[in-house]
Symmetry: C2
Subunit: 84 residues, 2 copies
């Protein structure tokens, strides 16, 4: 077994309104920053042991499907790296 | 001016309690997943125009300092990529 960290990034699908991100963008503009767009996402860093990177990614994807993401409104991606 | 996307990842500092992440971890364990640890972070993807990647990163860092992160409890990092 090898120690991995799987990073799951959960984003709202395009077209889904994100009032919190809009508020953040407006606040930054009010502070004088110039930006075209701001999107927010949730990121989960999961430490797990697996026989290989493929297995670690597969399990992290299953966690995203079952709990971390809502398939109706979210897209997600998974990255896996060996942990030291 | 070039179009960039700056990604700001905001994490709780080590030692700061994260009850939401603990609950998520417990829920995953209840669903039968085996994991060692789970940390959550906020991710902001900011589209902005700048003369170069260094300037874009500098401005995103300033946004983190002024609004996106709370220096008492958060660490953050910034990644910049050219936007197509």
């Amino acid at each position: 077994m090898t120690a991995f960290t799987a990073t799951v990034t959960v984003r709202l699908k395009r077209g889904v309104l994100d009032p919190e991100a809009e508020t953040t963008q407006r606040q930054l503009e009010r502070l004088g920053f110039d930006l075209d767009d701001l999107r927010s996402a949730d990121r989960f860093e999961i430490d797990l042991d697996a026989d290989g990177a493929d297995e670690a990614a597969e399990r992290a994807e299953e966690m995203a499907e079952r709990l971390l993401a809502n398939p109706t409104i979210h897209d997600y991606d998974v990255e896996v790296a060996e942990r030291e």
